[in-house]
């Protein structure tokens, strides 16, 4: 059984998706189907030294999210994870499979490999592991931004 009790976010490791250099930076739990994440993404990706992206798809709220996270992960297998994330956040209106294929072709990636990779158990497990680490750290909305192990950014709302 998976342990979902409280725990700090895992330290940044070799399996993480990291953009930028250095030890200082932020860890972002984000949902690729989330409009708030898309709105914040340009600021997040530009304003910090090292950015670590962790998957937090909320499928009930954004039904297409699991497929988008799998697509980004599969693009990552070909070395273009963040390019796919940038692409998905830049254009949220075209996220069906044909649109994903177009994005893959635009990035110059192997479409056949992409189609295989995004459906593997390993990709699903990778995404789920990130999601569960976010749950354990108390992520209650996206994007959730951590500086070291401390949650820094929460969207303030009345109720």
């Amino acid at each position: 059984m998976n342990d979902l009790t409280s725990s700090a976010i895992p330290p940044v490791g070799p399996d993480d998706h990291v953009r930028g250099e250095g030890e200082e930076g932020i860890v972002v739990y984000a949902d690729l189907g989330c409009p708030h994440c898309a709105a914040d993404w340009p600021r997040l990706r530009e304003s910090h030294g090292r950015l670590v992206f962790r998957h937090f798809p909320v499928a009930s709220k954004h039904p297409r999210s699991p497929a988008l996270h799998a697509a980004a992960e599969a693009a990552g297998h070909q070395g273009r994870f963040f390019e796919m994330v940038d692409s998905l956040y830049a254009d949220r209106g075209h996220v069906d499979d044909p649109h994903l294929w177009q994005r893959i072709e635009h990035l110059g990636l192997d479409l056949e490999r992409f189609e295989t990779d995004r459906r593997t158990d390993a990709v699903q497990a990778r995404i789920r592991a990130d999601f569960q680490s976010g749950i354990r750290a108390g992520v209650a909305g996206t994007p959730a931004v951590f500086d070291a192990c401390t949650l820094q950014t929460v969207r303030e709302r009345e109720f």
């Binding site: 059984m1 979902l4 909320v58 108390g138 209650a140 909305g141 109720f159």
Partner: protein, 150 residues
């Protein structure tokens, strides 16, 4: 908020389909009552959506989830469909907030709805654990539920 160890006040409310549901229907099982301010509010939507994502793990621990707010059961149905969730939602509609008041969760005027609170009821109908958010704008992450169940 109602005290841990007390007998949980029984109630009968309508669910999102208009069917009557009583707390006593859950006797012999654990149930987590999720009091929340109102359908379609941004925070309530996030809360119930995230709980839905880990619902299999909660159910695996022998706990059922039940949401309760002052909205009508018609609103509950629409909210449930909008969120794509299957958590039972009960309508504490008339007398407004009566069940929330019985659990010490109700926020009086000018708010007029339940605070964001959780109450775990054990197999014997006793309150086993509670959580009360500092304000309705914050909700406990699902980790808090798993801490209580561990």
């Amino acid at each position: 908020m109602i005290a841990v160890g007390e007998q949980a006040p029984d109630f009968t409310l309508r669910d999102q389909d208009g069917e009557k549901v009583s707390l006593s229907d859950y006797r012999g099982r654990k149930v987590l009552l999720i009091f929340y301010p109102g359908d379609f509010s941004p925070v309530c939507g996030d809360q119930l959506s995230i709980y839905q994502e880990v619902k299999p793990e909660i159910v695996e621990k022998g706990v059922e989830l039940v949401g309760i707010s002052v909205d009508s059961f018609y609103a509950h149905k629409a909210f449930q469909e909008k969120l794509g969730i299957d958590t039972t939602l009960l309508s504490d509609f008339e007398p407004k907030g009566e069940v929330a008041r019985a659990y010490g969760s109700y926020l009086d005027a000018p708010l007029g709805f339940a605070n964001r609170t959780l109450a775990l009821i054990d197999e014997d109908g006793k309150v086993a654990w509670t959580y009360e958010s500092p304000n309705p704008g914050e909700f406990p992450g699902a980790n808090v539920i798993f801490d209580a169940l561990s």
